[in-house]
Subunit: 402 residues, 2 copies
């Protein structure tokens, strides 16, 4: 597998565009379109929030048959908790139909931004001609057009082999607040020219999500609009993957790599974040325990603020392990902090050990920190991703709407 | 029931002291003692964290028979995750025995502060003579001596009648970070001269906690040392409460009032808080649903930051309702913001309604805000308490140890 350029346009037969149609202020890009040359197998995972954005409901309906050809998405307004949200979301799909001749039922739709304000179709209608005219090798523009409080666009692509055919996979995504695991995820769109049947595509997507996006938490708030979609148009010419086996494993490995990279990028760009945190738990009795503990540590506001302050306050890590709801013997726990600047052990057998505060400060001053938790209580492991909690998180969210 | 002065010393037969023995820096009070003239019925609720502070373990053992006479507590060090924590906690109890002749098994002990640093008994040994010499009507000193990042001491007392006898109840407590509901609670010590049997005392304490401390969240982090204790020495002379009935109800009402007031004070003094938030949920199908929703709203970092910014971002309230894990029809939800400055409806039938942003800003600029959620889906209600999330929370916790 190798990393390549091109984002969602890297695989054969995909075009994208992203423009500013006026939903967001200051001329920021806010409308994205991804189109496959041919009908593609499609799978999705979505928010588990009871309050579901209208676009989530419409997308679930439109891709229920396992196929789609286009994704239209806007930022600046979540089109959620409005009286006419469904109508607007369906209207967005119909616009794609009328301009591109793609059946509205083959269009997925996604929105992100403020909840509870009516989304007007007008700027989108007005923007369609420009959006269509820019449809091409413009993955980056599309990545930009789905950003909200993100500070950098998130885009990746890989190339790999299935059955002697070169297959490509690309993706764009956006974070960066209201993100919490154990739900579907935030907005992420993956394209691939692999040939794979809808049921297997769904299976791969779910498996990849469980170890990547679902292990990410920025602030424990679960959005109403989280959507991860994948389109697989088959133009790579590999024999269609219709059952598990070697080809499926190759495909899943690529999808995992793409999802994990986007997950790390989202964590690093968490609202106000200055540091990417990774909590690696090993030695758990069960996979569920390992995941629960990794998530509890990565979610703890007290751990997050300590990491912001480069403070080796490992007691907070132990505290989070203790309330994770997992079964483990806390007297066996060992904790290490690891970064590019070195590593330092701070706790063994559930109790503090002597360590150099100076070295700890150096290790924790890096911008990517691993909190390594060894439970010594079994053989299962898990990794969760998050970021530190900073002044800027408060600033960004204290007055988001106005 | 009327509010009176005196804190934990208001009830007959209780004395208290609080001094600076040198555990905390800058000469801050850090050692507290509460003593009952006679052996008292005793009940407690504790942290549900797997990692339990050594004092919690020792206290549970010492009051297992339902009786105690004294509480010794320190701030500045949690005496948790240390090799010799139990030894130190037992040593604190033995110091009370040697100076006051109270059996060490009748002494409860509590510690709060940094986790994972060894607590030396030396400053406590050195401080005992002064602590004893100041034992008297000094509830406020004791309240101060258990503070950590609290900015104000928390102390209350009430007087009420049971069977024509005047009964008094007093309390001190400390917050203000690492606090989350569904666990026991933070440090709070209640005294009363009511006569009540240990089993009924435990029953009342559990009931009062469920609607007060357990509905409080500052930051969703559950401490390792949370402890709420009550001592009832019977000196008021009422017929001992040994079963449920009118007398028990009177007692429970007073205990609820005391616990709720301390809960509100803790919420208001949450780390970095500028505003007390109260989420009142009505119309839920079950009590559990009402509690889950109230807690989800009060815990949401996005709701908390919006309240800090006086931003009527009610979509975040709906979002939290949606992921609370409760069963409710989100299309029936109504949301109002209420404060001393007025009230404003912002959402009906799960969708936004027209409202004046100006009025909303005024309502939300108050320092006590009620988020009123009407589910229209049943008859149960619940209230949760919390605070806004501010720059100062990050500041306080970014470098707590050093």
């Amino acid at each position: 597998m190798e990393h390549i350029k091109g984002g969602v346009c890297a695989p054969k037969g995909f075009a994208a565009a992203g423009i500013a149609c006026g939903i967001r202020r200051k001329g920021k890009r806010d409308l994205a379109l991804i189109v496959s040359q041919t009908k593609a197998a499609c799978a999705g995972v979505y928010t588990q929030n009871l309050v579901k954005g209208a676009p989530v409901i419409v997308t679930q309906k439109n891709i229920a048959d396992g196929y789609a050809r286009a994704i239209i998405a806007n930022s600046g307004n979540a089109n959620t908790c409005n009286a006419n949200g469904i109508e607007i979301a369906e209207g967005m799909c119909r616009l794609v139909e009328s301009y591109l001749g793609i059946d509205a039922n083959d269009v997925a739709v996604a929105s992100t931004g403020v909840i509870g304000q009516t989304l007007s179709l007008d700027p989108i209608i007005d923007g369609m001609p420009q959006l269509l005219s820019e449809l091409g090798d413009n993955s980056s523009d599309a990545a930009e057009a789905i950003m909200t409080t993100d500070t950098v666009k998130k885009e990746t692509a890989v190339s790999f082999e299935i059955g002697n055919k070169t297959v490509k996979m690309g993706a764009i995504a956006k974070g960066s607040g209201m993100i919490h695991p154990n739900m579907a995820t935030m907005l992420a769109f993956v394209t691939t020219d692999a040939a794979i049947s809808p049921p297997l595509l769904q299976k791969a997507l779910k498996a990849a999500t469980g170890e990547s996006f679902n292990m990410l938490s920025i602030d424990r708030d679960t959005s109403t609009n989280d959507t991860l979609l994948i389109l697989a148009n088959g133009l790579a010419g590999n024999p269609e993957i219709t059952s598990e086996g070697e080809d499926f494993d190759e495909f899943l490995a690529a999808l995992r790599a793409v999802c994990t990279q986007l997950t790390r990028e989202m964590a690093k760009d968490g609202e106000g974040a200055t540091k990417l945190l990774e909590c690696r738990v090993s030695g758990a009795k069960t996979k569920e325990d390992a995941k629960a503990i990794a998530k509890a540590v990565i979610c703890s506001p007290l751990v997050k603020t300590a990491m912001f302050g480069s403070d080796a306050n490992w007691g907070r890590v132990l505290c989070a392990i203790g309330y994770a709801g997992a079964e483990t013997d806390v007297n066996k726990v060992a904790v290490k902090f690891i970064s590019g600047a070195g590593e330092i052990s701070v706790c063994e057998n559930g109790a503090g050990i002597e360590f150099s505060e100076e070295v700890a400060k150096t290790v924790l001053s890096a911008d990517e920190i691993v909190i390594d938790v060894s439970l010594g209580d079994g053989a299962e492991c898990a990794t969760a991703y998050g970021c530190d909690l900073t002044y800027d998180y408060v600033k960004i969210n204290g007055d988001y709407r106005t």
